[in-house]
């Protein structure tokens, strides 16, 4: 009769009339960057302890058991460099034929080469039984080591030729499988180069139980490696520089996978992100806790001197380890400008850069990026003018006989590199991108760390006329081609 419920509409209207203008007038805070939103959820791991019965005689039996339920797993792993230790053939400008790059066939400036030394080096191979004394069957899926990445590291360890270490209870290890944790990845990647933090400078055992100040992701937020190195079908995302030539953008891990392109509240800082990698400011130093090797002189090896892990070992030579290492900074677009290929001729009077980051100030995709440089004095052939790969741990190798000449001669048939009989020592550099151990914001670099009289960046070496604080940035100076900004 009398539209009794009209008042409800009236009440709604009234509330709207009051609430809308008030809501409009209230101060609005900038919506925060929410990187958590982009994190991938891991599947909840199934407890395998009741599923796996055993008994296992050989490690291959364990893999067989795994493949019963995960039939594609080994095939997937065998596609990856964790298995092949060798990349796909690529064309490089200084070679006529395509080359492959990997641990399998190239050298670095730490232990130099695995060739002829597999027995020792393949302790970190995701397979069983790769050794120098017999050919390894790369097509046998049962040789894939599932446990290295999936077993609980308190019950599993690898030994020579990638086989389980003596005393490992295979059944217990198999029952313990789970999603890979920092302990799994870290077993090899924290100890690259032959010891804790030798190689990377930003990856070491302090990341097993990292305090929040050491690594904001793994420490404060308890990230596992696979949170950033997202993995699909055993293809693990993310590689940089070492043992690569060019790397597609989508195969790299980027901070912007989760973080905004303009993550700072301050515009002045946001303007930096076009030219400065996040790592540059947010990883002010390497090796904050465990020292990293920055210099290795092979030429001093073999002497009977007092030994010490951090300064001298008879089998390896002289070292310098350092903590709190300030990175060096280079333009970097994610690729290599050059990667030393076995047999490349060198100029022994100058340092040879084994892996040189690509990028320059005129390259809009390049950013200023922090690196560790590892300097080594390593052997080369005085006549052929290329770097030599000695047999070290292998039978008759330098570590046994301390005879360089013999080590090179033994290597000749294995590496296929001719040895003239005359060897010398030359300086080499390797670049290692600094990208882990991201510190909390309050530890990040400040303006004056780079800009100003005591700044850590050499602006002129980077291609700037001077400190961009006064001279302007590369876009302002028109150093980058227009249209690509």
């Amino acid at each position: 009769m009398k539209r009794r419920h009209l008042w409800v509409f009236g009440a709604v209207l009234l509330l709207l009339v009051v609430i809308v203008p008030i809501a409009y007038s209230l101060p609005r805070e900038r919506p925060p960057d929410d990187p958590q939103r982009y994190l991938q959820r891991h599947p909840v791991p199934l407890n395998h302890s009741n599923l796996i019965q055993g008994p296992f005689k050989t490690p291959q039996d364990v893999t067989k058991e795994c493949l019963r339920c995960h039939p594609d797993a080994a095939k997937e792993v065998m596609q990856t460099t964790h298995w092949t230790w060798e990349g796909k053939p690529v064309k490089v400008p200084w070679r006529d034929e395509p080359v492959t790059i990997g641990k399998k066939n190239q050298i670095n400036n730490f232990c130099i080469s695995i060739m002829g030394n597999q027995h020792t080096c393949t302790t970190c191979h995701a397979g069983y039984g790769w050794s120098e004394d017999k050919p390894f069957d790369f097509s046998n899926p049962y040789n894939v080591d599932c446990l290295a990445c999936h077993a609980d590291m308190s019950v599993y360890a690898k030994g020579f030729s990638g086989l389980p270490a003596k005393g490992v209870d295979l059944l217990a290890a198999a029952k313990s499988v789970h999603n890979p944790k920092r302990e799994n990845c870290g077993k090899c990647h924290f100890n690259g180069g032959g010891g804790n933090n030798v190689k990377h400078g930003d990856l070491d055992q302090s990341l097993l139980l990292p305090p929040p100040e050491l690594d904001v992701h793994m420490g404060r937020l308890d990230f596992q490696c696979t949170d950033c190195h997202r993995t699909q079908h055993h293809r693990i995302k993310g590689r940089l520089l070492a043992d690569n030539y060019t790397i597609p953008y989508e195969e790299q891990v980027h901070c912007t996978d989760c973080h905004s392109q303009r993550p700072h509240e301050d515009d002045r800082l946001n303007f930096h992100t076009k030219s400065v990698a996040c790592q540059t400011c947010h990883i002010p130093e390497m090796a904050p806790k465990d020292p990293t090797k920055i210099f290795w002189d092979w030429s001093k090896a073999g002497q009977d001197r007092p030994e010490d892990h951090y300064t001298y070992l008879k089998i390896k030579g002289e070292f310098i380890y350092k903590r709190h290492v300030k990175p060096v900074y280079r333009w970097f677009n994610g690729n290599n400008k050059y990667r030393y290929i076995l047999g490349d001729r060198i100029d022994p009077t100058k340092p040879t850069i084994i892996d040189e980051p690509a990028g320059k100030i005129t390259d809009p995709t390049a950013k200023i990026f922090p690196f560790k440089i590892h300097v080594a004095i390593q052997p080369y052939d005085k006549e052929y003018k290329y770097l030599l790969a000695p047999i070290t741990s292998g039978p008759g190798g330098f570590w046994h006989d301390f005879d360089w000449d013999k080590a090179f001669r033994l290597a000749e048939p294995i590496t296929g590199l001719k040895y003239s009989g005359k060897y010398g020592w030359t300086e080499t550099w390797m670049f290692w991108p600094t990208t882990h151990m991201v510190r909390p914001a309050k530890e990040a670099l400040q303006c004056e760390d780079c800009h100003g009289p005591k700044g850590r960046l050499d602006w002129k070496a980077l291609g700037y006329p001077g400190d961009p604080k006064e001279w302007g940035g590369r876009f302002q100076l028109n150093l980058v081609p227009e249209g690509e900004k």
Partner: protein
Amino acid sequence: MTNLRSFSLRTGIFLTILSALVLGLIWGFPYVRAQTGVPPLETVTIELPPKGSPMHPPFPILDANGEHVLKSGRPMSTMRTCGQCHDTNFIATHSYHVDMGLSDILHRRTPASGEPWDVSNGPFGRWDPLFYRYLSQPGDERLDLSTAEWIMTQGIYHPGGGPAEISREGQLLTQLEPDPTHPETAILDATTGQAKPWDWRRSGTVEVNCILCHTPNPNNQARIQALKEGAFAWANTATLLGTGIVDKTADGWHWNPNAFGPDGKLKKAFVTIQEPSNKNCAACHGPVHTDPSQPAVVTELNPQTATVGQVFSGQRISKSGMNIQGKEKLTRPWDVHMDRGLSCVDCHFALNNPAQAWEKRENRPHTLVYDPRRLDIGDYLKTPVHDFARGETAQHPLDPKSKGTMRRCEDCHDAKRVHTGVLPYANRHLSVLACETCHIPKLYAPAIEAYDWTVLMPDKSPRVVYRGMDGPAPMPGGDVPPTVANLVTGYTPVTLLRHNRTGMPELTTPNWLYTLIGTTSKGERTTSKSGGDWIAPYNLITTWFWVYTDANGRVRPVRRIDLEKAWFDGDTYAADVVALFDANRDGQLSPDELVLDTKAKRDLIAQRLAALGLKNPHIEGRVRPYSVSHDVAEKGWALEECTACHNTQSRLTRPMQLAPYVPAGVEPTFVKDTNVVKTGRMVKKEDGLYLQPDPKDYGLYIFGHDRIPIIDWFGFLLFVGVILGVSGHAALRIYAAKRRKHAHAGSVEEVYLYTPFERFWHWLQATTIGLLLVTGLLIHRPDFWPALSNYRYLVPIHNVSAALLILDASLSLFYHLTTGAIREFIPKPRGFFDQAIQQVRYYTYGIFRGEPHPFEKVPGRKLNPLQQVTYFGLLNVLLPLQMLTGLLMWGEQYWPDAIQKIGGLHTLAPIHSLVAWLFASFVVGHVYLTTTGLTPLEDIRGMITGWERIEVPEGKGSHEA
């Protein structure tokens, strides 16, 4: 229809093609340009100047006679050497750093301090009790600091020239004959206490030291050493020690021929002339921390650096090397500008530097944002003004001609844009507060609180009190820097009114309301006009010292040498001093015992001073403000809590300790030569003497802090009274109703009383008034519910609700006027009183007996006479008054001057609060009376649905609509 379709189709195709063309042009243009206009990348290089001095040419070093120093072996003359290209005379005469107040003496200017001992406004002629030594004037009875000794002591903070070259009569000092009776040609012999003649021709004088500020690594230690030794002529040359240009051996100074080329000019590598760096400024102005890889540590607490406790560093406080309380959480840089790479000279630039120069605000056409006409760079380099841009700090009389030449915060930052939407009444805040007030919330280094020269410590130093530091004051010369040994707690600066640019604030007539109620601390107050005065943060340093009247009737601070004699016999305290001061009778005077806390102690020292021939020795005290303008905190670290100021304990009224005690009960006076207005009063508390600032003195009304208690008490009691009244009434009604058996006397009828508009109007008013009362109360008394009292939200809610209410009221007034419905609210004179009495009788009597309402509601006549008179008052008096006062209070941010004329916030705000209390009381009564309908909730239902059931007394028919 077809026509239209074909038209639109054709037009559509045409427009599509056209827009594609336009887009293509726009899109393709950069590519076309990129391909044709830009040179190949590899050719883009910029020629870089060599490191060191980018363009300063090599030059020969000359002595005062213009001879090459290699030939003469004499000290370098900067005036001659640099004068080869630069107009050094111009530089020396256009530099306050050089002048230091000498020109005040030369021109017989009256110093602003009004102190009998001051002869200038600068460090040369104005006595600074922190340094203590007094620059004696010709004709003084006793010689304290002669010109020569001034150079040896204060001259270490002086770049030379000015008073180090020219006498107070304008002659060259080297023209003066040695004369022990004149302070310009004598020196006090500390051992004998007698004046000795000073021979300027032997010592030479100090020219303006260009090297000190224009080379990267000047040897300041060697310079100071030369000055202290009185080797004035060599002081500037000493600054070059260590560069390889000159050496000093036991047999004197040697210029190094290898530093010079065959043409006599310095070799390029030795030419390091540069723009002054922070390090150069730091040589005199306190530690500047420049190496980010090293932790910042302030080790010096000398008066030059510790007057404010500013640390010039861009480093995060958490990373510094100092022992600061809660340091790990202080992850902000010491000074955000230092972090951002600004250098001292970026703000304090040479006034005619074409890169930075601008006109003083008051000289600049207000329509001009930027004037591109610039001094030629060559002219500038030849004749650079060496007066540097400065703000309007409390160090007011220094270099008065340059004050206000510096760019202020808002000249670089768009403060309005940054704060609008975040800070309520941004305009108002920005016009009243200096940026520093919020952006320098706290200082994290010790600062001087008091220098008490009335006593001397065992090492003959004064009693010094620092603020912002835990533990006892450090003794000079300790092994560990006090900032490392003592816990630094930091201190919060006091906020005082700073008067910008012109004179002192004018006094206005007393606020009539305050006079009437008599709650103001003073009868008078000063204006706070937008732009002119700001509330700014300060450190206050209090000094006490003995003065005497000399033989020539001049009042002078007691010389240190006399003061030492009054306290000591040789190196130990005089026997009668020990006898009186040694409270614990251990024969030693500990720092605790060295206080003039009794009249006897004061008299003893006064007697001992008088015994030295000093007439009328007595104690004076001064309080001097020091501006806090560095160590600026960025967003997130600034003061962002509204209730820091808007609260009972407002930061703006936060007292600052002047000293933990008052020597001999002498209350210090505020210095006169400053642009800071002393407000409030000095308060003696148990733990010392405080300055309690009072913003009321300059007419500032702070919401949440200021209130008139009488009004609040009246309002509150009224409010409570109404609640008690209606509660009693309700209780009686319930009691009466229980005793009454019969329910209704008449029949019940449902009547359509309220139109949708009326209902909407009512409820909108109810909602907004409710919001206004609640938010208003929280704004007025943020201390009641601190958790809810965030002005950032309360103020917009209050203001928007008010706007809605005003809009609602205006529209309804229009409605009531145009429809004539207003008549209902106007009491009709005829029979009004009878009817009113009838209504009163009903509420006080009839209602308890279940009598019917004397005036039943009918559409068009819903209000009874009491309601009529209440609403008449409410809607015609209170609501408009509240709207008007509220509107004016809101308008204060836009028209402060106009609002000030009608009494300002101090008048408006109390009225607004009073009316708010009346409103609140009304609401209680009003809501209560709605329960007097047929059932307690019937009236409310009526106001919601429009239909109300009312009781029709028997015998009365249904109403005619």
